[in-house]
Symmetry: D3
Subunit: 325 residues, 6 copies
Amino acid sequence: MIEVVTFGEAMIRLSPPGALRLEQAQSLDIWPAGAELNVAVGLARLGAEVSWVSRLPLNELGRKVDASARANGVDTSGVVWAEDGRMGLFFVEVGNLPRPSWTLYDRADSAFACLDPGEFDWRELLSGAAAFHTSGITPALSEACARTVRAALEAARETGSRTIYDLNFRRLLTTPDDARDCVERLAPLIDILIGSSAELAAVFGLDDNPREIARRLRDELDIDLVVASSRVDASDGTQIRQTISVGEDVHELASPAFRTVDPLGGGDAFCAGFIFGLMTSGVRRGLELGNAMAALKQSIVGDFAVVDREEVERLLRGSGVQTLR
Amino acid sequence: MIEVVTFGEAMIRLSPPGALRLEQAQSLDIWPAGAELNVAVGLARLGAEVSWVSRLPLNELGRKVDASARANGVDTSGVVWAEDGRMGLFFVEVGNLPRPSWTLYDRADSAFACLDPGEFDWRELLSGAAAFHTSGITPALSEACARTVRAALEAARETGSRTIYDLNFRRLLTTPDDARDCVERLAPLIDILIGSSAELAAVFGLDDNPREIARRLRDELDIDLVVASSRVDASDGTQIRQTISVGEDVHELASPAFRTVDPLGGGDAFCAGFIFGLMTSGVRRGLELGNAMAALKQSIVGDFAVVDREEVERLLRGSGVQTLR
Amino acid sequence: MIEVVTFGEAMIRLSPPGALRLEQAQSLDIWPAGAELNVAVGLARLGAEVSWVSRLPLNELGRKVDASARANGVDTSGVVWAEDGRMGLFFVEVGNLPRPSWTLYDRADSAFACLDPGEFDWRELLSGAAAFHTSGITPALSEACARTVRAALEAARETGSRTIYDLNFRRLLTTPDDARDCVERLAPLIDILIGSSAELAAVFGLDDNPREIARRLRDELDIDLVVASSRVDASDGTQIRQTISVGEDVHELASPAFRTVDPLGGGDAFCAGFIFGLMTSGVRRGLELGNAMAALKQSIVGDFAVVDREEVERLLRGSGVQTLR
Amino acid sequence: MIEVVTFGEAMIRLSPPGALRLEQAQSLDIWPAGAELNVAVGLARLGAEVSWVSRLPLNELGRKVDASARANGVDTSGVVWAEDGRMGLFFVEVGNLPRPSWTLYDRADSAFACLDPGEFDWRELLSGAAAFHTSGITPALSEACARTVRAALEAARETGSRTIYDLNFRRLLTTPDDARDCVERLAPLIDILIGSSAELAAVFGLDDNPREIARRLRDELDIDLVVASSRVDASDGTQIRQTISVGEDVHELASPAFRTVDPLGGGDAFCAGFIFGLMTSGVRRGLELGNAMAALKQSIVGDFAVVDREEVERLLRGSGVQTLR
Amino acid sequence: MIEVVTFGEAMIRLSPPGALRLEQAQSLDIWPAGAELNVAVGLARLGAEVSWVSRLPLNELGRKVDASARANGVDTSGVVWAEDGRMGLFFVEVGNLPRPSWTLYDRADSAFACLDPGEFDWRELLSGAAAFHTSGITPALSEACARTVRAALEAARETGSRTIYDLNFRRLLTTPDDARDCVERLAPLIDILIGSSAELAAVFGLDDNPREIARRLRDELDIDLVVASSRVDASDGTQIRQTISVGEDVHELASPAFRTVDPLGGGDAFCAGFIFGLMTSGVRRGLELGNAMAALKQSIVGDFAVVDREEVERLLRGSGVQTLR
Amino acid sequence: MIEVVTFGEAMIRLSPPGALRLEQAQSLDIWPAGAELNVAVGLARLGAEVSWVSRLPLNELGRKVDASARANGVDTSGVVWAEDGRMGLFFVEVGNLPRPSWTLYDRADSAFACLDPGEFDWRELLSGAAAFHTSGITPALSEACARTVRAALEAARETGSRTIYDLNFRRLLTTPDDARDCVERLAPLIDILIGSSAELAAVFGLDDNPREIARRLRDELDIDLVVASSRVDASDGTQIRQTISVGEDVHELASPAFRTVDPLGGGDAFCAGFIFGLMTSGVRRGLELGNAMAALKQSIVGDFAVVDREEVERLLRGSGVQTLR
């Protein structure tokens, strides 16, 4: 079985039920979330053996996140339980045309951001791991987090784990310049860089042309594989995800059409599918599974891609949306 | 007033609320359902005098289904109350592009499937009935059910009730071959055969061409009237139902455009409208009412077509979707 | 700060949750509503100082409406508290294609309809108000209401408040002829007449051509400014609001595209945006803000335009529907 | 089977969910209600053949009430469907010590109150009925209602139906004097008078002594049987209902202990049990079933006694509150 | 009308619905809360003119709290809107015997705790105020908060506002020693000290004897009036609040019996009732209203005492818990 | 760490929300349940390393149960995934005095009942386990289940795991005689027998005297330790659990007082606490933890004892029900 390790913060997302605005809501739905946890959940649901490394506060909220990870089949033995720091939260309102979705982060001073790099023994955590995944959110959380990401990536070089880095640029957390510096400094330790074409363009000051972006970043950063994706509106109100990878070969693939029920976690679902496909069959299969996972995730509430492998395969076989009965 | 009798199993459908997946849900919405009960409810709401014949377990679940039928104006005095057998259940998850809706049947050993043909005195149950309706699900449930359907159809010949048989092919219950055998054996007792074009094609090994299918089945099975329908996607994301009937004349009619809130029960709503229209004015009116009922049903949660006659007429008058105020 | 006064009845709207029909619902969602209250709320949220004048029954329901107005920043010191009369109610079912939304009014004998014109000292209520807004619903509620509207408009002439009259024709309350008589009699006291093109056409017996309607009504009624709007379906399933104003100049403007979550209150949101824009920058800005408010409102549940000024500006800057994070 | 007819208004009750106050609620739970409908439902659930005669508005709300009656097994063919008049509503907040429950009636001008006595052919409606039940609420609703109650009671004399009259004194509808006058005038047509001891005392100006009240009213009004009940607090926080009947014999009986989940409909549940027991076995059995029904009702949300005969018998056998499994 | 000013932090409370534990919940109910805001709401609902002074973050959460205060009739013009600092949150699980209720504070770095004393012009804020209320939570939040409390109390001396200080000792915020120091230093500026007998005992190292505690603190701290209360379990499972005040006279009063639906906000409801009664009629009336408010609050979900003056009076008249109808 | 293995069926429990009856509910809450799974969850939450062995259908329902076990920290690697058999269900209505709670089992033909004894390699499953727990429900489900229980108990003898057998007599599953036979035959393999005093009395035909029952069963069945418990009503409406154990010594202990929110799972919570205490400190500590767990469970919705070790210790330290804040 494929073994993967992901590393990053988890938060609790609080969202108004149904189509309500936050100001109208008398209750908020709870969704555990976090880019690298989302990836771990997606991988576990596809059948990988996956461990999520993080730091959680030792209280009911931390336990809630841990339980959700375990319920989805993710190994959480690498989680450090902290007496200090709080559970990061964020409030999300899912929009409706022309009202955009928005996010209010309340993650400062989280148990994760307060981590001490020495709390993680990466050589042990990564032993046997075929791949290691983290995203640009993690180093942006604190200086200590940034150092820990570097330590993990260095350890991955020693354990022979392939390293995947998702740009995940968040304007509310960092600046384009800082995000760029961060990637550039880590680049020698990164095997695969993934990002939305718009974010990659914003961070690296390029035109929003996925193929060009991927090609230039691969060359300039000397990274084995760069994957860039973008969403395209179809005329019937559905959307499609276009993904291009530039490595030794260039692959370009469109996802199945989807309608968005919940816009969050799509990129993370892609990463999960991509890593799973890549490790089992190669890049092209990675894009295929990644696109399918991302499209399915858009139809699902919450940040996790609550799917199973058979559903993904059925979608890729194109069996359509007739009721199965 | 038109008197109609329908015969078939009812189940309790359990569905996650909102857009949740079953695995995410902490509660399940309850909907009474069952093809022939759905048809009975649709007919009663249009104004017909309708009796639903079935067999229910003598417990809270059975009573819940019975109450829902009565609330909708259906006469349930022909229901046999059983000490043996359970209430059939099914779990439904309504999908969102590209995630299909699916059904998990949990109906084995239901009170209905355990019926004894001798429990039903069809000549009395059908006395005065202008029409009798059942569907392909019923004979597929058990050998005894199949024998009871035959007995009912034979009695209908004696009471002069017109017989309507909806194919309702369910891959999770039977095979195409068995479904075909069943229809072929019952054909001499069937006046009207209804089915979706795709299901008719699958069961009878034909190309999915509604007109051709209806024509061939009418000829080969020697059935008075065959009605075949199919769904067509419009470019603006709405759908339309195309229905063709082949009897002495051929009628072809498109339904009003609809968006699907709940995909189940559309065919049953069509049957209700079709039978009502047919019995009051003839085939063309049947298709008209059937298509309108089916389109309305798609906008309604649950398996019942919770409409009234005036709404259907207003839709057929094309009064649009402006808020009535 | 701009000071505006609006005058009209508030009701409590009761709607089935989610996509349920009223007949299926075991609970009803509560939304305070009322054309002029909706306008007041929209104005207050944009930053205006707004007072809503009305009459409410002195019971829990009246207090609930009052609390909702105050929560949204509306001054309710001009509300008369009544021992007689009930809280007006209305039941709303939001439709889904092809099922229209509908309304069941239960507003007879409301505390508002039972008002005594002498209860309102308009010169004091309007003192300092730059604008006064009411709609065609108000005079249609009772003879006393009609007299009070006239008294308010006359007082507005004295206080120098600009008067805005929204046609708001409701077939369930009045007839086209009565609505026309009402407007014609009040026309000398009205500065700005607003209405949907379809309603204006129905009431004044004109063809549904917005530009023509606005032009003719301006001339015939001798009103400074007439604003007519209409909804247009786009091919991808979204809608757009087209608004034309005919005064000294003619302005025509399309709203941002929207999808309708709740069809009520769109016209009132337009009025709020229009009045705010008009008073701060002129007619064109009024149309711009009004269209944006109306489009946003369609994406929000309930009758109130629960937005803030920054959201409206962001929409007008065209910043798109990407998740803000 | 016992045939009973009840006559009275139904309303829709709207209550905040859980322990919320009306002012806090964003939704209201819907419960069909009405003293005589509650009695009819209780009787039907015990196994009687019962018809509820009333007048309902021909709209969604009227249909909702009708459906709830039919779902519970009540024959509603005696309901008159009205184009005029509205559905009566009432708002109920269930209290918690020391906060009392309260009711806000919104029932003026209901379709029922607007009835025309000529709309009801009592001799036909009561033909075959062993008993007729109404309550003091009905004549208090309008002059026409009062005349109709008299007409019904007179017809009952002709059809030989036993007449049961529940005092149901409502301070928000009538005065003690009017209620007394009403009973006194109808007394010659009443066989059985039922009431809570406190209400009987208030209306007839007596001390609150159940035995004395029943004795005196029986004598003074010359009524066959008077039944008076009262609630007693037990020391462990539970309550008990004490009921005394004075007719040829005197019977006194305590109910099983209960905790109140919903305080409404207890007296109506008593009436249902009492009538059923009386007609099948006599007064003592009536008190027994009535007390058991009333105690069970207190544990059930809504105004209907959603029980079945077996549950009542099990309670009377004293099988305790252990989980049945 | 009585004018009162209160000063303190508001938070958003998040609680699992019904009887669920936090770990089981998929959604959390939202309740605005905060000792001094609770007092302000209670006072406004009783009819006082009350202004709540605070500091809120300029985001959706801050606006939500502000809207709730305004909805309840509290003047929030004294709220400072902050670009820095977050909205304080706390998670509450309401227990059931033998499981205690608990609280998880997540209020560090709130906009309130980050306040700058110079942001509040107390002489203006308190001008015309008959009373000023704050509690021991406020100075415990930050050094700046402590200085601001002192500044406010000093200003109250100048404006002639009576000062009321509720101990509100929170083990999760401060220590007994710090709380004691704080009160002792502020004592010369405090007119009335209120506290639960258990908390007063813990902070001042005394035996838990209300009368003794109040007497000693009055003497030692030289405070005009000390009010101490405690809860007593009754044998039927209800509770009673015993309150004693020691000033020039000694008053001792028991509250009405209550059952606890939500244990939070009871002390704040007492303060609201006490201040209102004190200012209108004197100490004894203060205890009376305070006890009644506290008892009622226990029956209400959330931290606010959602009552009105008439309800409190009715309770004090002892009109019992019969349904009002 | 203590390692424990439990073996038994899990089901999905479906319960009406709040105080609703099943017949009134439009949705049902979902709770995973099953005596031995409940025990495993309780043990895991206390800190034991626990594995639950079972057989689940390979569908969404099976996965839901598995996820809930993992979320609670239970190792489910010993679960056999079945293509045959369904998920067992049961419907539960929680009562209110005088209405009892009841259960409707719908567990026939479950994947568990269809197990093949050969699917479980008990020597491997129990290797390292200090204790093995199952209950009388398991052998009652099918002949194959009974044989598997015997095989497991025999293997436990070899692996040196202590065996605990909870009587869990279910009238809807088996008869007293069969339950007795079952225990008698397994007795030589059982170290500890646990049961409610009432059930033990019913099954073994004894008087309901806990001490006598435990003594006699210990002697007659030659079992090391017999634990019998019973519930006692306190005068203030609370309850207490009395537990007696008879082994080498006799211990008798009363639980903390509790109020019942949900009556199911209390005995299983006791077993979890008892096993944990027994294995860490001995019998007396087992009774102490067991009683505390059982009392806490009664305050929690669902079948799982959602507690943690610290809560149990706090309860045993008697820290009371004051809000922790």
